[in-house]
Subunit: 297 residues, 5 copies
């Protein structure tokens, strides 16, 4: 098992530390773990994601869910933040997502264009910003360029930077796919090397071995894989993503293994709100039970 680093060890400047402390110790379980609610799918996938539970199309519904569910933060784009967050400002931490894209154009040269700034996040009282980095994309050059500017501003304003580290692109597909252990491990490390304070990763699938580089072509359990990923991220805190909605037991098991491996928390969206309101809260309370077992100072 990997031990989760404390905030004091991370080399954070005062503002980043204050804001992460607030997220991890003044919201949610207040025990150093985190449960985030991502709600950027309206841009990333379009409204098709809301048909399973039409109420979820309403950002106000989701914000209230984040508060009722005692989440540590909600991750949204600037438009929804402007129109909806003011009503609940300060009740749940805001993670402003700074880039995003539709999934209409092909993904061959995946790049998530920036559409908001760290200054927007400061102005809106956010406690963190989010950036999607497409690790392995041929558009790496432009990706790093826009990322660098956001990293610099996040440092300057003392704003924690959460990187959605997503393996993507033809080369990734040819080398085991975007959720292979190889790809997820590389993505976590890349976020860390480039200065993310927190990294959001998909749960790695070590069984996807076709085309991966050694030693990833050997056998690993999923527990071994997620532990390696957390280790690769080192002092970058790890959030494990829920991804597409799947069976509850499988999701809870992933959550358990992630926390056991030293992850700081979970970021579950569709698995939470693609069901009826009370079902959502019930599922969230199961996640909270797991997080409660992994406190840190």
């Amino acid at each position: 098992m990997t031990t989760r680093p404390t905030l004091a060890q991370l080399g954070l400047n005062t503002g980043k530390k204050a804001r992460l402390h607030r997220i991890l110790h003044h919201h949610g379980l207040r025990n150093g773990t985190a449960l985030f609610l991502p709600y950027d799918q309206g841009l990333e996938h379009g409204p098709r994601d809301f048909f399973a539970n039409p109420a979820a199309s309403d950002p106000r519904y989701i914000l209230k869910l984040a508060i009722e569910g005692n989440f540590n933060g909600i991750a949204i784009q600037v438009g929804l933040a402007e129109k909806f967050y003011w009503e609940y400002a300060g009740e749940v931490p805001l993670i402003l997502k700074l880039n995003g894209k539709t999934d209409l154009p092909p993904d061959a040269e995946a790049l998530s264009p920036v559409h908001a700034s760290v200054a927007d996040a400061v102005r809106l009282g956010a406690d963190a910003v989010g950036y999607t980095l497409y690790v392995g994309t041929p558009a790496q050059e432009r990706d790093f360029a826009q990322y660098q500017e956001i990293r610099r501003d996040a440092h300057r304003y003392g704003m924690p930077l959460i990187v959605w580290a997503y393996p993507r692109g033809a080369a990734v597909e040819a080398k085991g796919g975007k959720d292979s252990f190889y790809a997820v491990d590389y993505a976590a490390r890349t976020a860390s090397e480039l200065g993310a304070d927190v990294v959001k990763v998909n749960f790695p699938r070590p069984e996807k071995r076709e085309g991966v580089k050694p030693p990833y072509d050997a056998e690993f359990t999923s527990q071994q894989a997620i532990e390696a990923v957390v280790r690769s991220a080192n002092r970058t805190l790890v959030l494990v993503s829920g991804g597409e909605k799947a069976g509850d037991e499988a999701m809870l098991e992933k959550a358990r293994q992630s926390m056991e491996a030293g992850a700081t928390g979970l970021i579950f969206g569709r698995n939470v709100w693609q069901r009826a309101h009370d079902e959502s809260l019930r599922f969230v309370s199961q996640l909270a039970e797991i997080l409660a077992k992994y406190p840190s100072t």
Copy 2:
């Protein structure tokens, strides 16, 4: 009695609302009231203020006191924020004081020079900034000029602006002095007219009537006076200052009257830390008992 306005009524932008919500509802009694600990006296008066309780010379002692005493915020200058706040970042809200001065040169043209910026406050994860406005000073022109810049930045960054509204200067002395009802009432209104989100005032003394303009030369109870001051401040939240250390009963009575009048809270420094540690906490708990009676949403 004046009714305290709710955050939703104040016309605040999202960031200011988020940060004030955090101060008023995620710290202290979490009931919409506030108790602040000011610690700028080392600059304003010099270390002489610390001889009564030498431990109070150590900013770390004061920060811990703010946390133990469950304060809603601590107001310090940038140097102490840089050197001490990192250790407790996020545990108690930081109010960064942006101007200040020594009391060595004469006070005839009192002006509190700016030595830090709203950007510093953002960077340090502060939840508000403080500015001393010397109402009535002949240096009014330069005062308003530097104030305007800070108000503009505070708006841009969504940072609540707390104005220390202090009547000061020869004209003030000639017209009843700096804590006359006349002067304090005028100061509260000035802060409100100039865009303060919160105003810190001294408790008004209606008995100081010599030289004041009518109708302040009539008789008023102190309760009437503080109610008028809160009314003058309108949608600028009012904090009442403790000032120099005085008898506990007198201080608690001032606190009661202030809260009854609709003040949002108290800002007590020397009355708190110019005594031994446990005595400080005991006094704070008496203040908290009063605040507990004036919740708001």
Copy 3:
């Protein structure tokens, strides 16, 4: 006795910590103490200071003395740094003094104008910058304004900021003079409140009690006084200045008391180079003997 804080406690960003570590642990005695050689008198007093030892007029002589004497740094203005430091670049740490003035015009509204930038210091490979703050001057407003800019740049570049905290001006003269315990204590605190990383003070003279504010009008030993000054500076490291050349025993005693009080080091100029070369080194070795007794990590 006051305990000297370690670098890890000071809330320094990485660059400031790296540069202070270099000064305190890779030069001089490498034990966390410091002995600095100031050489800005050619500007502050003019060449008259060099007649006692004409060789000292030559900056190259002084630079070599700093290296031979195993100093932790030499403090010079930009002109001498440009023309002389290149030859010994990196052999002894450079503290670039960013402001200064001639003593030709009257001192009533003392202000030390800025004539070099933190960017100059970076470009010259300096390990710290120096700024003279005239605590108590009527020109406080302009002083704080130019100081703020330098503090901001020093933070941005990770450059340690050493403040020459000098009480000065008519008000100071009327209240005990520039080296009274009252004035020196206030000056040390002011530097700390405004964000100095290191403060240079004159040794306080508690016997100068005429006109000082209470409780400084009571009796204090010089040991008590210097301990209070170090305490007022808290996490701002203290350097004690030698000032004008005086008897060796008196100077060494001041040095001893300063280090005993928790000062980090000494900054002695005229007492060092206003004598023949070998005499300078002999005196320096006596200072080093004292510093050797106060190591820190």
Copy 4:
């Protein structure tokens, strides 16, 4: 044999000279030679490089190794510098690597995108910056463009610029490959022509003659080849890279020949940390023995 130039001959400005002096004369053997530890493989190759010695996945382990092994510097990306260097700031010189890439996308148009700035390096207290220049890539135009900006800033801040001069791209492959004498010699010269202060090259392999331009198609010993490379670099100091882990004797022989040829030092990563801790230090001490034979002033 080629004579190594002294710092005084290199036309360096004061800051670059101060920082290189620090690296070469205040760290390592303090004899003008250098042994650097590169640790950018987590980004360049991904975590797969760490499976040989899992401890090496932890940047803190590597930083401590750099200090224990008495290295002259450690070369890392900005993320690891932010999160780990603060703890050891100043104990070992930091070389901030300003560009880098994953090896996921194809290498046909190799370009190493910039993700950090010289200003970041200054802020972190670095003593040099590193830039990977892909000599021969079809992306030469964008490579030179981003390089020019970094060279300009490095000059402006007095920050030594170390160029990783790597022949790369289809044309290079067709003309002898990336480590042919022809390619390495050309790369060293390119770095020098473009203003590198130090160049990192792979050890040239004169036996790779297929497709190289004359006269590189004649027979050369490896000693002749490395001497030519150092000569081509002229007043750009040469560091020879270890590259992939190989047999110790072969590596030590390369090191000997490099130093004999006038190289300033070695930059060995995987050969050092892809083995157990004590084995690493033992190997490093063998390298140090070689460097000790080639002092310069």
Copy 5:
């Protein structure tokens, strides 16, 4: 006797060295000495200076005189440079004077306002810029501020900076006057401390002892005085000014003593052109005879 430093010792960047080399070794006697023709009196004193030789009112006449007289440079303001230098561009080095003032307003707070930039000097092909610094003026703060900007630009563009170091102001008058040994020595040192590459001083008058600080109140010969001044300037090259027209023998003797003391050259205006054309050239040839005796490399 003080030895004149060589260009290689001055820590100049390449551009400054190239331009000074051009002035000192490609013009005039080409022996490292310099004779400059200042022609800024039309602004500083008005046309009254031209009545002694009306031809001197015509800048073209003066430019031709500079060429015929084999001067190392001509110092003029931007207006004359624009209108006249183009015709002789490159034939004699241009020193662009960047500040200046009329002598109409009182001199109590003397300040010479900037009216041209270093960029103007580059654009006009100048080989140096000139700046008048009024050492001792109460306007020191504004003087240093505008000087700093010019020093920075001169460094950035590699343009030698010649400082007209003039003691001025009431304090100076009260302490021996503007050409006392005390004042001139202080002025030379100030220019050096602030980064002048070359300093223009008046010949010191040690007999002016009333009000000067010790040890300047002792007896010194003029040879001793000028030697001290050159020593105070250290690696800032010294030009001695002719000042008002005086007897030839006295002027030549000053020139001899200056060069003997280690000055780099002379800057004589009114003594040259306030007489008929051939007389001017005859006097210049006498100065050249002196300079010829003090070559340097």
